[in-house]
């Protein structure tokens, strides 16, 4: 059991380093068991080293940095287990323009393996969509208009 977990952790770590490094243009991130001799004795830390900065606890990271670390973790997990659906509601709220662009690329990349449903107010994210849904309120009730952006990617929409 311990070996299965260690193997999984190794594979996840290599994906996490890859995703985080790409997201931050050179940063490093990895998962570290608190107790290396017996994993189940302690928890698992998420260590991040943003570019130009030393490794630090995520608890003192900024809102945008935490968002990037959290999404890298989720995306890395998806690369190990790709055939699933992702539903992300305004996860980009605290990202600056550079990080928004990187998130948009990461989502585009992820959407080749998984179905992604993103709620976003950012043009940068909407511009990468295969299909966009505009929700608006009329008389207090929700209405939907949909527009297909990328015709080849749509098989049923």
């Amino acid at each position: 059991k311990k070996r299965v977990f260690m193997e999984f952790l190794d594979r996840l770590n290599s994906k996490l380093r890859e995703v985080f490094s790409k997201f931050t243009s050179g940063g490093d991130a990895w998962l570290e068991p608190e107790d290396k001799t017996n994993i189940f004795n302690g928890g698992i830390d998420l260590i991040t080293a943003f570019p130009g900065k030393p490794r630090r606890s995520l608890s003192i990271a900024s809102g945008g940095e935490k968002t990037i670390a959290a999404l890298s973790f989720v995306f890395a997990l998806s690369k190990l287990n790709p055939t699933t659906v992702y539903i992300l509601d305004e996860v980009d709220a605290h990202l600056d323009p550079v990080n928004l662009e990187r998130l948009a690329s990461a989502l585009k990349d992820l959407s080749n393996e998984s179905q992604i449903i993103v709620i976003s107010l950012k043009d940068v994210i909407a511009s990468k969509a295969d299909k966009i849904y505009g929700i608006y309120s009329k008389g207090g009730l929700s209405k939907v208009v949909a527009a297909v952006m990328n015709v080849e990617a749509i098989s049923n929409g």
Binding site: S59, T84, V85, I87, N112, I132, L141, K143, A146, V148
Partner: protein, 163 residues
Amino acid sequence: VYIKRIEIKGFKSFKNRTVINLCKGLNVITGPNGSGKSNIVDAIRFALGELNPRMLRVERFSELICDNLDAGSRRAYVKIVLDNSDRKIPIDSGEVEIQRSIDEKGRMTYKINGRRSSREAIVDMLSVAGLSPSAINIIMQGAVTRIADLTPKRRRELLEEII
């Protein structure tokens, strides 16, 4: 497995029957504040079998019913049609439709392909496809930084569940 379409009626701000056809790739939902975007996420979680009404931002499930409905029509349902061409879900049909309804008294019914079923049957079926209302792949508004703030112990437990 992916969601082909969602049908929402009487649920929160979706008073009238609304059908949303999704594509296999990147779907982006946008619109003004308060228009109903997060309500769509609540609808999906509801249909996937969410047990905790607070995860749907209400105190009781009956509060999910559109408060604009006249007496006698106070019912809500959400239908999710899943593509099953890869047969990951152990049902021999290219599409699987799950539906969850609730009435004014809080009574809930579940259906698979139109036939009455149970929440357990739906949850079992969906777990094969990696779809669960409480999985890490559904991130609610404002919740993303909480993943970074997980305690080391919670993070290990989360990973153990995934394996």
